[in-house]
């Protein structure tokens, strides 16, 4: 026996009904609802490290080391925007091929620049943008105090920009690096 309502509907209305129901379901999908809670971010303390082996001394390497030392020296004597500009110039110096130590020097300089940026109005997001890619959890970082310092500055910038997950992860990674360095010193 055929249901009377069904019997009264042709293929056109049936299709319209199905479409309407389908669209209704899509519209009710909670994942697209703007009012739905955003996925909770959790701290990621993943740490990959490597030891920086001393590279073979070259003239280019020595010139780079001197140039970086000069950048810090000039930054010490500069103030405000001049200091920021000096530090930015240091980061833009081309790194000689094969100079493994440059990675640590650049992190140290970036941490100093980010630290300086944090003292300026609205500098925290810029500091975070500068350091976050250099210290990404997917990257292997040099086992050095400069890395630990950079992670702390990134954590501070994350706190200032309201990203507690990034802050906690960065602080935890910094502590892990320093603990590794401490254990290396143990007799």
């Amino acid at each position: 026996m055929t249901h009377p309502i069904r019997a009264s509907l042709g293929w056109g209305p049936r299709l319209a009904l199905l479409l309407g129901l389908g669209l209704g379901l899509v519209a009710c999908d909670p994942s697209d609802d703007a009012a739905a809670p955003v996925a909770r971010r959790v701290p990621d303390a993943t740490l990959r490290v490597h030891v920086v082996a001393p590279s073979t001394p070259t003239d280019e390497g020595l010139a780079y080391l001197r140039a970086m030392a000069d950048v810090h020296d000039r930054a010490d004597r500069a103030r405000g925007e001049d200091r920021l500009q000096t530090l930015r110039q240091g980061l833009s110096l081309p790194v000689p091929a094969g100079l493994a130590e440059a990675e640590v020097l650049r992190l140290d300089l970036a941490a100093r620049l980010a630290d300086e940026l944090m003292t300026t109005p609205h500098g925290a997001p810029t500091a975070r943008e500068l350091l976050a890619p250099m210290l990404d959890v997917e990257r292997s970082l040099p086992l050095d105090r400069a890395t630990a310092r950079a992670l702390v500055v990134l954590g501070d910038a994350a706190v200032a920009t309201g990203d507690d997950a990034l802050a906690a992860g960065s602080y935890a990674r910094s502590i892990e690096i320093m603990s590794s360095l401490r254990q290396e010193l143990e007799p």
Partner: protein, 149 residues
């Protein structure tokens, strides 16, 4: 008083140096059996242990070698103490940094009381800080013991 004592020890040193020089030159006083006598002795006492009971030897080469060895040992000990000082400085400086970052991390975790990811990181940081403090204290104590020896 101090001057007198300094002069006195200067004379003793000068006498010892003179005797040593004479002995090296083959003019040292000898006992009846022809053996070398201890400066200040009566010449009849056979060679034997020095006052602290250890045989210092009677050969200039042996004495020189011993002096060199003791000098080297003293230098090594001094250098080791200096190295320990540097290591403790580094250890304690790292400890200070670890504990300072722990404070920051746990401040962030306090804002997320029900979230285990944050609380776990804070607990671990507290443990690292505590271990680092112990390590710093132990290093300083070792250094002080070494300096006292």
């Amino acid at each position: 008083m101090r001057e007198t004592r300094r002069e006195g020890s200067g004379w003793v040193l000068a006498s010892v140096a003179l005797c040593l020089a004479a002995w090296v030159a083959g003019c040292a006083p000898t006992g009846r059996d022809g053996g070398v006598v201890t400066p200040g002795g009566n010449g009849n006492v056979p060679d034997g242990p020095d006052p602290d009971g250890r045989d210092e030897g009677d050969d200039i080469g042996v004495l020189e070698a011993r002096l060199e060895r003791l000098t080297a040992e003293q230098a090594a000990k001094a250098s080791s103490t200096e190295a320990n000082f540097g290591v403790c400085e580094d250890l304690c400086s790292l400890t200070s940094s670890i504990c300072s970052v722990k404070e920051k991390l746990c401040d962030v975790a306090e804002r997320h009381p029900g979230e285990e990811e944050y609380q776990g990181l804070c607990r671990r940081a507290e443990l690292e800080c505590s271990e680092a403090e112990d390590s710093c204290v132990a290093c300083v104590e070792r250094r002080e013991r070494a300096a006292a020896e």
